[in-house]
């Protein structure tokens, strides 16, 4: 039943490894990795096989093989193989080299050491990674890299946690917590020999964020396994002394390896166009061959039976009929004229693209000094697409904005606290930035580094080995400060951390907490506190605990004091009953209040910083004196005072700050905000959150459940047991739209009225915030009765333990819980625009790019940001589409379409066709002739903005409405889609891309942009704060949005125009050369003879004329970078494919034919009726062709650098040197041309030089006109 769907892992030590026959794990992949494609033996066949997947290679091999057929062969068969072999071997050598490097790195990795438990020696022994097998027990030490996917069974951490850094997997540098498997939590020390459970889990898959299965103990008890129990290969163990685990997946079956899929290959638009022209070349080739074949047949036919001496019989001495002869000749001609299909084009394009990628990489202006990151080209072969973009789809958060959240203002219980001081502070930061920027620009960046190191050296730098954190900060000056203060903490520049509290709110907080303290000491019910104070309190508690922020102290690892009793979140009903029995609740308020007091749990709490924290510490001490009760009596979270309390204080003075490592910047911003109100998060464990409050000291909230954030629910919740009230409380934090719908004011009159009032006021403030461009979050709470909780828990536990559909069940479970909430307040968090965004958008728009912003933010926020970044213009009209139903949406679209037509399409010259089409529809303004709504009429882009929300977008993306939607959208200058889901984002991109046949670029930074990035022609990822998923999926990764301008306008333009010109030149070059031979057929009885020596013929493309075009294709600049940036209009050149239009191919062909006529007939008439021999005549023609082709390239080259000169000189020199050597090498070889001493003799003839001067000039004369 499970066999085919799951993997069962037994411990290896139960089986004798030497025999291995009965080991149930023997079928699983071992940990040896082999990323090489080939082995020594398989290299040749496998590589060739792969290369022959490219059609062109097959074609050329076919032609080369054709040469081995005696009746049709044109060249020496061996020689004809040369180009193909050359191309194939270049690729093969490249592949081999890459494979060798992979092999070396594999070997290095396979020979890393790790500690594996050995049964015979009864201890952990060192083994190579490659010897590790599924089912082995492995001991991991701090800072060690995981060799395989390991199920965590034991950790030295007192909370049985293990911290890992997943930077190598997803680029996120914050630490993640992993937990020991539940049933092993209570073990003090783990002994592999006692392990006898069986693990049943999923088959290997590549989903990094999912792992499920269960562990079956000897007793038959089952325990669920989650992704929190799994340590993934490639991660690094941090802050954990030691951990032991069992290997579940090894080697290629690890999630990291399964996620490892090489670089992406896309085919660019230019290449698609090129392929059409390659196809045309084939047609031209066939026409030429057919023409020659017919010509040859007729030529033969005219002689009739009288066979001339020069018409040689077939080798067998038989006569060939003209028809058979013509058929043979057709094949021969294909061989002779094969050069027309440029064999080296494909190779050359790849070389040029690699060079282009190299140059894009090296661009200093695309280098971000703060993050020390480059632009990355992840897709190597679509550089030229950058020059042809027409639509940009951008994410907002993190792309246009910093995604660096700064707490701005909040509203609690319907009262707004404007935080004016905070706003002033932020303004000050900006000023400081500009000042300091000036300073640093003068002083250089060196001092900055020094200061960093000096600071670092004073600390115990435990994480110094971690990869550099990729934080972005607002400015260089800020980065400087940030790097000093918080080297490794995500999302915490001082701007985010130092929040100036609003005095009014501060007073309330103090009042509230002092009251609470008072009440607690007097054992009064907390209900006595006025509700608004209560809300304030709850609000900050929610801010502090409703998140997944990890607390760390900068100078030390989390040296936790071992707890004597470990508690996990409620996991079973029995547990629940045990823990929430009324007897315990009524056991005395004194007990409960004291139990809720947490003492200093670590050396890392802040003492010296806060004046208010000292009383709390004192109170703790006094409390402790009071309560000298045996430790085991403490039911929960009560930690003893660390013996070194004084030392702690001393330590704290030097380092008083806690660090918050958050998964999203909003969370960090809110936690820092709460801390500003002295409501500081000081510790987080899987089952407990500790908050430090003024007056009250440390409060430990028992964390029963965390319902994580997801983009569908758009909220997260925590279920905690409130330490003061002992109530089970749900705190929910989420997008205002969803929270507001879930708010249910209390039914009783007085309370309900108040709550409705709060709701109303808060909504007003929310609108206000959104109008300011702030991100809003609503905070709500809910108090659950025990019965409610029990019934919910029942279902939730079922969901948690389910293996199938677990996510869905959990989702439903969360939905059940998050209802009937009570609104506490809302926060407004500012997401600052990135530097240069308005300028970039303006110049991209000038470049003719349509910019659409697709965001998950709410409409008002999005509109505001759009105004701020000049996407929307206050002068332009905005069409807002908000519909509740499909029909409404349809009507809305129709109306706006008509509106647009009325307003803008009043053509001065009415189109009669369109008028007739719309005769049936009456428009209020008869003066306007409406244009048809289909794709027939050209849509002008008006000064209109379209705003559409997610729900309406869903309707608009329906098949029936998508045309209307597009029609409206494309006539607007800017489009803003708010509240859109990742799927909608990708659907919009897909729709525009497929329906409008335009080139699309999607840019985003978060996981929610991945689908959009993948769908677009070019996906750009911002290597930002939200992890690396977007970068992983992207073709190009930028450090900042503004770099898009140079990437597109300069590099895109260059890449496109260079490559387009190079491809055209290639076609021209080959056609020109081949046409020479074709003209000759008229003078050799269409016999397929060639006056160009076969060596020249074959190496002409490969060697003689190959280098200059590569140099030009890599370095040529039609317009300078400065001009391109100043005049973005030049970008339209690429959008309209103006460098490479179909007619250009034909123009080039005509030009090629003209030039070849000149190059053929000038030597022809010069040597007509003379005693010149075939190859003495052909060699000057080759030379002339080379000169003409190079000169032609010279005319095409816009900028001449020394590279161009050198390459052209080299080409010419190469030709003559090769020719001279070749012509002197062997008097009796190289049949049939046998060019002995030909070139040498030609060089002695004045006519040769005279020809070389006049012909190229005559051939290129039309290009000067």
């Amino acid at each position: 039943r499970w066999e085919d769907k799951t993997r069962i892992v037994h411990a290896n030590i139960l089986y004798d490894l030497t025999k291995g026959g009965d080991n149930p794990n023997r079928h699983y992949a071992n940990n040896k990795i082999k990323t090489t494609k080939y082995t020594l033996l398989s290299f040749l066949p496998k590589n060739l096989f792969e290369q022959f997947h490219r059609f062109a290679n097959v074609y050329f091999v076919f032609i080369a093989l054709l040469n081995f057929v005696p009746v049709v062969n044109a060249f020496q068969p061996e020689l004809a193989l040369a180009p193909v072999v050359f191309i194939l071997s270049v690729t093969a050598i490249k592949d081999l080299w890459e494979d060798y490097r992979r092999h070396r790195s594999d070997k290095e990795i396979n020979h890393l050491d790790c500690l594996v438990y050995c049964r015979s020696e009864k201890r952990y022994v060192e083994k190579y990674w490659k010897e590790v097998r599924v089912g082995d027990f492995i001991r991991l030490r701090c800072n060690e890299i995981l060799p395989a996917d390991v199920l965590l069974l034991s950790s030295s951490d007192p909370d049985r946690l293990c911290h890992i850094e997943t930077a190598t997997l997803d680029g996120e540098t914050n630490l993640k917590q992993r937990q020991v498997v539940r049933s092993f939590i209570d073990l003090v020390s783990f002994d592999p020999l006692k392990y006898n459970s069986v693990i049943e889990c999923e088959k290997p898959n590549n989903d990094l964020n999912r792992f499920r299965g269960y562990i079956i103990h000897r007793s038959g008890k089952r325990d669920g396994l989650y992704k929190d129990n799994l340590l993934l290969r490639g991660c690094t163990i941090r802050n954990t002394e030691e951990a032991v685990g069992i290997i579940i997946y090894a080697g290629h079956e690890t999630k990291a390896m399964l996620n490892n899929n090489g670089p992406r290959y896309k085919r660019s638009k230019l290449e698609r166009q090129m392929n059409v022209d390659v196809f045309w070349c084939v047609i031209i080739l066939l026409v030429m061959c057919l023409f020659s074949a017919i010509g040859h047949g007729l030529w033969m036919f005219q002689y009739g039976d009288k066979r001339p001496v020069f018409d040689v019989l077939s080798p067998e001495g038989t006569e060939l009929s003209p028809v058979v002869s013509a058929i043979y000749l057709f094949l021969t001609m294909i061989i002779v004229l094969q050069v027309l299909i440029p064999i080296s084009l494909f190779v050359s394009i790849e070389i040029v693209k690699i060079c282009q990628v190299y140059f894009i990489h090296q661009d200093m202006e695309l280098y971000d000094e703060e993050t020390d990151s480059h632009l990355q080209c992840r897709a190597l072969n679509i550089t030229e697409d950058l020059g042809q973009m027409q639509y940009i789809f951008s994410d907002k958060t993190g792309t246009l904005t910093e995604n660096k959240m700064v707490f701005r203002r909040c509203t609690v219980a319907g009262v707004e606290y404007s935080h004016d001081a905070n706003a002033r502070r932020l303004a000050m930061y900006q000023e400081m930035d500009s000042e300091e920027e000036e300073c640093t620009s003068h002083g250089g960046t060196l001092p900055r580094r020094d200061s960093v190191t000096s600071h670092q050296s004073g600390k115990v730098v435990l994480r110094s080995q971690s990869t550099k954190s990729h934080r972005r900060t607002g400015s260089r000056a800020e980065a400087k400060r940030a790097s000093i203060l918080s080297k490794h903490t995500a999302f915490s520049s001082p701007m985010e951390k130092d929040i100036t509290p609003d005095p009014q709110l501060m007073d309330k907080v103090n009042e509230c907490s002092s009251q609470m303290e008072f009440m607690r000491f007097h054992s009064q019910s907390l209900n006595q506190i006025p509700p608004d104070l209560c809300d304030v309190f709850d609000f900050f508690i929610a801010l502090t605990i409703c998140n997944t922020v990890v607390v760390s102290s900068p100078n030390q690892p989390r040296q936790k004091v071992r707890r004597y009793e470990l508690k996990s979140p409620v996991k079973t009903i029995e547990d629940f009953i045990k823990r929430f029995t009324p007897s315990r609740l009524t056991s005395g308020s004194n007990n409960s209040s004291s139990s809720s007091l947490a003492t200093n749990r670590s050396s890392s709490h802040k003492v010296g910083c806060s004046m208010l924290s000292s009383p709390s510490a004192e109170s703790t001490l006094t409390k402790l004196k009071e309560e000298k009760r045996p430790e085991h009596d403490l039911q929960h979270a009560f930690s003893p005072v660390p013996p070194n309390f004084d030392k702690t204080k001393a330590l704290a003075q030097d380092e008083c700050e806690l660090r918050y490592e958050a998964e999203s910047p909003d969370e960090a911003a809110l936690v820092y905000a709460a801390r500003a109100y002295k409501c500081a998060l000081v510790g987080r464990l899987p089952d407990q959150v500790t908050v430090e409050l003024p007056h009250l000291g440390k409060l430990s909230f028992e964390l029963l459940h965390t319902l994580g954030f997801d983009s569908t629910r758009k909220r997260m919740s925590v279920v905690v047991k409130h330490p003061l009230t002992e109530q089970i409380t749900v705190y929910t934090k989420g997008a205002d739209s969803v929270i507001m719908d879930l708010i249910r004011p209390a039914t009783d009159d007085c309370k309900g009225k108040r709550q409705r009032k709060i709701l109303y006021k808060t909504q007003n403030y929310l609108n206000l915030y959104a109008a300011d461009g702030l991100r809003t979050l609503c905070i709500a709470k809910k108090v659950l009765s025990k019965e409610e909780y029990a019934s919910w828990l029942q279902l939730h536990l079922e969901a948690e333990t389910a293996i199938q559909r677990r996510e869905e069940l959990l989702f439903e479970s969360a939905l059940r819980l998050e209802t009937n909430l009570q609104l506490l307040g809302a926060t407004g968090v500012e997401d600052r625009l990135q530097d240069g965004v308005p300028e970039t958008i303006a110049s991209l728009r000038k470049a003719g790019l349509q910019i659409w912003v697709l965001t998950g933010d709410k409409q008002e926020t999005a509109i505001n940001i759009a105004y701020a970044c000049k996407l929307l213009d206050p002068e332009e009209e905005i069409i807002t589409l908000n519909a509740d139903s499909q029909e409404a949406c349809a009507v809305l679209l129709k109306n706006s379409l008509q509106y647009i037509q009325k307003k803008f399409l009043c053509n001065p010259r009415p189109d009669p066709q369109a008028t007739r089409d719309y005769a049936g529809i009456h428009f209020s303004s008869p003066m306007c002739s409406p244009a048809s709504s289909g794709h027939s009429s050209p849509f002008l882009v008006h000064r209109l903005g379209l705003v559409i929300d997610g729900r309406t977008l869903a309707y608009a993306l329906d098949k029936s409405l998508e045309d209307d939607f597009l029609a409206v959208a494309r006539s607007c200058r800017s489009v803003l889609c708010c509240r859109s889901t990742p799927l909608q984002k990708s659907m919009v991109v897909k729709l525009v891309r497929n329906k409008l046949k335009v080139m699309t670029l999607a840019i985003g930074d978060g996981a929610n942009d991945v689908s959009m990035i993948q769908v677009a022609d070019v996906g750009v990822g911002i290597s930002g704060q939200e992890g690396m998923q977007a970068v992983m999926a992207s073709d190009f990764a930028l450090p900042r949005f503004r770099y898009l301008q140079k990437l597109l306008l300069v590099h895109g333009h260059w890449c496109y125009s260079r490559l387009a010109n190079m491809i055209l030149y290639f076609f021209y070059k080959n056609a020109m050369f081949v046409a020479l031979i074709f003209w000759y057929q008229f003078y050799c009885g269409f016999s397929g003879s060639s006056m160009v020596d076969q060596w020249y013929l074959i190496f002409f493309n490969l060697m003689f004329s190959a280098f200059p075009q590569l140099v030009t294709g890599t370095l040529d600049k039609d317009v300078s970078a400065e001009t391109l940036q100043e005049l973005p209009q030049l970008y339209m050149n690429g959008q309209n494919s103006e460098e490479y239009k179909p007619y250009m191919f034909w123009m080039n062909m005509i030009d090629a034919f003209y030039q070849s006529l000149i190059c053929f007939f000038i030597p022809y008439f010069t040597y007509v009726d003379s005693d010149v021999d075939l190859f003495t005549w052909g060699t000057p023609i080759t030379t002339l062709a080379l000169f003409t082709i190079l000169l032609h390239l010279g005319i095409e080259t816009k900028t001449w650098t020394w590279m161009n000169w050198v390459s052209i000189g080299f080409s010419i020199a190469l030709f003559f040197i090769v020719a001279l050597c070749y012509n002197a090498s062997c008097p009796a070889c190289f049949s049939p041309s046998n060019p002995y001493w030909t070139m040498q003799r030609l060089l002695g003839e004045p006519i040769f030089y005279l020809l070389c001067v006049v012909t190229p000039i005559a051939a290129l004369l039309p290009r000067y006109l």
Binding site: Q465, M1032, T1199, Y1236
Partner: protein, 372 residues
């Protein structure tokens, strides 16, 4: 960089985007070098075509080309050339009967005498060519049909010629020497030139039959097998003569051992296949008279005695005898001169036109004269 951090570098090639190892020393700035090359700021010359650069170029080309063209044309016109067709297609032609009867299989020689008159004296060395028309010596299969190593004197190739020579490789189970279609179709007319002195006497004009082939061909490419062995008949003992030949290769010029066998210059010249179907090949050289006073060929009546062996009627060919003097640029060919004059004039003319345009419209629109 990602899960593939183990080989991300390989995938990305040299791209420095991949995160290096996390070691402490790995923190190194990835800032690109600010070099002109890497920043694509190499000093560059941008040839901007303006009136200032293009016009002088045109005039320059014109001014240089036209004189060269005139020089070439004059040189070409100074070359004296005389051509006579002796194919004998007309009934009136003296060689008519020979041409009618003759085929490759005829054994008896047919001779005819073609009289002609030179109006002008031919100074200095006179080159005597035979010319063939409609003879496709450049036919693909024909060109290939030879064995260079046999001609180079290679003994093994002598007895076992290359496959390329088929079907002229063996005859009567003996290898053919020289093999191949080119050798087989060797031009075998014998031309003799007589000056009919006004006094009635017929003076034989001495025709030099060496020095007509390339020096490298005669001394390097073509060699008799067996080196300087004078007894050629024994060397070629095991070979057979080409089918169309009347005599074996070692009897091509029995009088001069240095001009016999493969190194016979008539043979060498023939083996250098012509580029075009109408071609001439150097046959003999008439050396300039020693005294320098009388021209090599004074004006007057001459007669060309032809031993008519070579049939061309089957392919409508023509046979000609050409007498020509020679200059530094080779034989008479006015084309190159004309080409230079034409290109030069076109350039000059364009220069003038552009100059006018430039003057008329140049002030209004500076880019009007930027060609292309």
């Amino acid at each position: 960089m990602m899960a593939s951090s183990y080989n991300a570098k390989d995938e990305d090639g040299h791209l420095p985007g991949s995160v290096g190892s996390g070691g402490p020393g790995a923190v190194k700035s990835k800032k690109p070098d600010n070099t002109a090359f890497k920043q694509q700021r190499l000093p560059a010359w941008q040839p901007i075509l303006t009136a200032g650069t293009v016009l002088p170029a045109f005039f320059m080309i014109g001014l240089i080309f036209i004189p060269i063209g005139i020089g070439l044309l004059v040189t070409s016109n100074n070359i004296k050339e005389f051509e006579i067709d002796y194919t004998g297609v007309d009934m009136s032609s003296p060689c008519f009967s020979c041409s009618q009867n003759y085929s490759w299989n005829s054994t008896s020689a047919c001779t005819c005498s073609v009289p002609f008159t030179l109006d002008q004296p031919f100074e200095s060395n006179v080159f005597m060519y035979y010319g063939l028309s409609n003879f496709y010596q450049n036919h693909r299969r024909y060109v290939k049909s030879r064995d260079d190593s046999q001609l180079n004197g290679d003994k093994s190739s002598l007895l076992n010629p290359s496959k390329e020579c088929e079907p002229y490789r063996t005859s009567d189970k003996k290898s053919i020497a020289p093999c191949g279609a080119i050798a087989n179709s060797l031009f075998n007319d014998t031309l003799e030139l007589f000056y009919n002195h006004p006094n009635g006497s017929k003076i034989t004009i001495h025709l030099e039959k060496t020095g007509i082939a390339w020096w490298t061909d005669k001394h390097v490419k073509f060699r008799n097998p067996g080196g300087n062995n004078n007894n050629l008949s024994s060397v070629f003992r095991d070979t057979s003569k080409p089918v169309n030949w009347h005599k074996p290769v070692y009897e091509l010029d029995p009088s001069d051992p240095d001009n016999n066998g493969f190194v016979n210059e008539d043979f060498i010249v023939w083996m250098r296949t012509a580029a075009l179907p109408t071609f001439r090949k150097l046959y003999r050289i008439i050396q300039k008279k020693k005294d320098n006073m009388t021209p090599t060929l004074p004006p007057g009546n001459y007669s060309l005695e032809v031993t008519y062996n070579y049939p061309v009627r089957s392919f409508d060919g023509r046979k000609r005898m050409i007498l020509s003097t020679i200059s530094w640029m080779g034989g008479k060919n006015p084309f190159l001169g004309i080409a230079y004059i034409t290109v030069g004039s076109v350039c000059f003319f364009l220069g003038v036109v552009l100059l006018i345009i430039h003057h008329k419209y140049g002030n209004r629109n500076n880019s009007a004269d930027i060609p292309n």
